[in-house]
């Protein structure tokens, strides 16, 4: 399945990725990184369609999109 890999320590917490996700599966975590900001987490990885929108809008190259061998959800 396809899913976002979020390097949370690089995140500046702008939230643009959350607004860009067409599946609305990203949300701000309540935890802080070492920069002192909340970072996004994926609450429903099996629903990720691998569209890369979250990664493309991230100004700080925080998100990678990967394809794994794990069985996917309804979107593969």
């Amino acid at each position: 399945m396809k899913k976002p890999l979020i390097s949370v320590e690089k995140c500046k917490g702008c939230g643009l990725c959350i607004g860009a996700c067409p599946k609305k599966i990203l949300e701000m975590s309540s935890a802080f990184n070492k920069q002192g900001v909340n970072y996004p987490k994926c609450k429903d990885e099996p629903s990720c369609i691998g569209c890369k929108f979250c990664a493309m809008i991230c100004p700080d190259c925080v998100i990678e999109i990967v394809e794994t061998d794990e069985p996917g959800g309804k979107n593969g």
Binding site: K2, L5, K10, K12, G13, C14, G15, L16, I18, G19, A20, V37, G50, K52, F53, A55, M56, I57, C58, P59, D60, C61, I63, E64, I65, V66, E67, T68, D69
Partner: protein
Amino acid sequence: MADKILYTRPDSIRDVKSHYCPGCGHGIVHKLIGECLDEMNCREKTILVAPVGCAVLAYNYIDVDGIEAPHGRAPAVATGVKRAQKDKLVISYQGDGDLLAIGTAETIHAANRGENITVIFINNAIYGMTGGQMAPTTMEGQVTKTTPYGRDVHDVGYPIRACELLNTLVAPYYIERVSVHDVPHIVKAKKAIRRALQNQIDGKGYSFIEVLSMCPTNWGVDAQTGADWVRDVMQPYYPLGVFRDKDAEEASRVQ
């Protein structure tokens, strides 16, 4: 099997923390330039002329050789670099204060000479680096540090449309305005930047890409509200699209 990476930071963008604020459009545009340089295999021959403004250290993030120009003089410096080293890919990267206020003369004359360079113009409607003063591109009524009651166009003039202004000149080869406020527009912006770089490689002449971009910090809003403001307030005044395309003009003449 190891995970297959479908999208990651381009090689031409260094893996360092930038000084840009959260949600700043500069980071998005840097990444697009980096992706284009990777795809075109041009990183080693690129020279980036950085402006005075928030992007003053752009060459620390985009992994190419760089020169820092005096405020507004990037297209003049780029002119010299390109004329001396014709095989290099020379990018003049500038904000709206740099390109359209202190550097207006350099901007217009480099375009008017049709220099074979690529100008990437970040229009974020404000002076970012110095703390949010009015720029030539600040919107009518927009509150900034120097227009606390909103930009009064009868007092300080109207926001300048750079693409339309340069499109009155004969020499420019390619002029396009794009935006990075959402992903579909980011995709189009990348195509435009790639086109502008290819034009230079093909020796065609001056290409100018204006990018509507976010400065959430000095607009005093969160990043998403900033992106929405580009769409709702900037875009209607600064229409997106291709203003000049001599390739297309040539093609239509041949037909």
